[in-house]
C-alpha cells in the first residue's frame, strides 16, 4: 500500500512484540477466576470461545490491525475468518498459510467477499464475534446491522480526528519534531495520526517555525528506497480530494504555510501529497471538523492544522 520500508519493518516488529506479549499474558487473562466459594456454592468467571470470529481489516496497517484481533481470538480458542481490505488482500492469505504451516487447518481462513455480503456473514450462526477496523461511518453500519440481526459481541476500532496541544512550558524543539512525526507517519494514513495541533499563543510562532523545519525534512519518494520517509497515498482519489480540502481551508481563512498540492516523486511517478501545514486554522473550518460525507478525508487526510489556542 506504499508504506516506506522503514515503517513497514516497524509494523512487523510491532506484530512480533504483540504476539510475544499476548502469549505471555494469555494464561492469566484466560484463566478461570473464582470470585466466591463457600458452602452455598461457587461463583467464578470463565472465558469461553464463541466459535468463529469474523475480522475486517484495513489497508493502512495491514498486519498489525489484523493481528490485534486475530491473535487474541485464536489464543482464546476461536477460529477466525479474515476479510481483508481489497488493497491488501495478500495479508489475509498469508496469515492463513502461517497457521497451516504451524499445524492447524481451518483455524484461520481468508475470506474474499464483497462488502455488501458482510451482512450475510454476520447472520451465520457460527459467527460469534465481529471485529471491524476502519472508518467511523462503516463502523456505525456494522453496529446497526449487527443489532438488527443478532446479539453477539463486536469490537470497532474506528478513525479519529486527533488533536495535540503544545503547552506554554513545552520543549518546543521536541514537540515540533514529535508532532510532525505523529502527523506524517504513514503519509498521515493512521487512525491515531495527529490531525490538529493547538499551540499556546506565547510559543506559537516559534513552534510553527520548528514544525516547518521538521516537515520539510520528509523525503517524498519510492517507498522501496531506503531514504524515503513519506510514501504515496494508497487510494487513487485521495490527492485531489485533499487538494480540494486545502483550498476550502484557504478560503475559510487558513494560511497555507508549506505544501498544499499533489505531487510525484523525483522521477515523475506516483500519487503523493506534499507535506502540508495550514496555520491560523479555526475550529469551525471544514478541515477541523469531521466531514460525514467524505470518509476518506476524515480518516486519512495527510495535512495537519495548526491553531492558536487563546488561554
Amino acid at each position: 500500500m506504499g508504506k516506506p520500508l522503514k515503517e513497514s519493518f516497524s509494523e512487523l516488529k510491532a506484530f512480533h512484540s504483540l504476539v510475544r506479549k499476548l502469549s505471555e499474558i494469555a494464561p492469566e487473562a484466560l484463566a478461570e477466576k473464582v470470585v466466591k466459594e463457600n458452602q452455598q456454592g461457587l461463583l467464578k468467571y470463565t472465558r469461553e470461545p464463541v466459535g468463529v470470529a469474523a475480522i475486517f481489516s484495513p489497508w493502512n496497517y495491514p498486519v498489525l490491525t489484523c493481528a490485534n484481533m486475530l491473535i487474541t481470538s485464536v489464543l482464546a480458542g476461536n477460529s477466525v475468518v479474515i476479510k481483508h481490505s481489497p488493497y491488501t488482500p495478500i495479508i489475509g492469505k498469508h496469515f492463513e498459510e502461517a497457521f497451516k504451516f504451524a499445524g492447524v487447518e481451518n483455524i484461520v481462513r481468508e475470506l474474499m467477499i464483497m462488502h455488501t455480503d458482510a451482512v450475510k456473514l454476520y447472520q451465520l450462526p457460527e459467527i460469534g464475534f465481529v471485529g471491524f477496523t476502519g472508518s467511523t461511518e462503516v463502523g456505525r453500519n456494522v453496529h446497526d446491522e449487527l443489532a438488527d440481526h443478532r446479539f453477539i459481541d463486536y469490537t470497532l476500532e474506528l478513525g479519529g480526528n486527533d488533536a495535540a496541544y503544545i503547552a506554554e512550558d513545552a520543549d518546543i524543539e521536541l514537540a515540533a519534531k514529535e508532532t510532525m512525526f505523529g502527523a506524517f507517519y504513514n503519509a498521515g494514513q493512521s487512525c491515531n495520526g495527529i490531525e490538529r495541533i493547538y499551540v499556546h499563543h506565547s510559543i506559537y510562532d516559534d513552534f510553527l517555525n520548528k514544525a516547518i523545519k521538521y516537515a520539510l525534512t520528509y523525503e517524498v519518494g519510492d517507498p522501496l528506497k531506503e531514504g524515503t520517509t513519506l510514501g504515496p497515498l494508497t487510494l487513487p482519489d485521495l490527492p485531489e480530494a485533499i487538494k480540494q480540502k486545502v483550498e476550502d481551508s484557504a478560503g475559510q481563512g487558513g494560511r497555507i504555510i508549506i505544501g498544499g498540492l499533489p505531487c510525484t516523486d523525483s522521477e515523475g511517478k506516483g500519487r503523493f501529497f506534499e507535506p502540508t501545514i495550514i496555520a491560523d486554522a479555526q475550529n469551525d473550518m471544514s478541515m477541523m471538523v469531521k466531514n460525514k460525507f467524505n470518509i476518506l478525508l476524515e480518516k486519512y487526510r495527510c495535512l495537519k492544522l495548526l491553531d492558536q489556542l487563546l488561554v
Partner: protein, 55 residues
C-alpha cells in the same frame, strides 16, 4: 463463504479443547498441542517470509 465458515466452526470445536499452554494446564502435552506454541510458530513463519526471525 458459508462453507469456509462452517469448516472453521468445526475446527474451532477441537481447537478450543487444545490447552493454551503448560503454565496453567498440568498435563502431558506435546509442544505442538499448545495454542500458544501454535501461535508463535505461525508468527515465526509469517515473519520469515519478510526475512525476519521470531527468535
Amino acid at each position: 463463504m458459508n462453507t469456509i465458515v462452517k469448516e472453521c466452526y468445526e475446527s474451532h470445536k477441537s481447537w478450543e479443547k487444545v490447552p493454551l499452554g503448560k503454565q496453567i494446564f498440568i498435563q502431558k502435552l506435546t509442544l505442538k498441542d499448545e495454542r500458544i506454541k501454535v501461535v508463535k510458530k505461525a508468527a515465526e513463519y509469517f515473519l520469515k517470509v519478510f526475512s525476519l526471525s521470531y527468535y
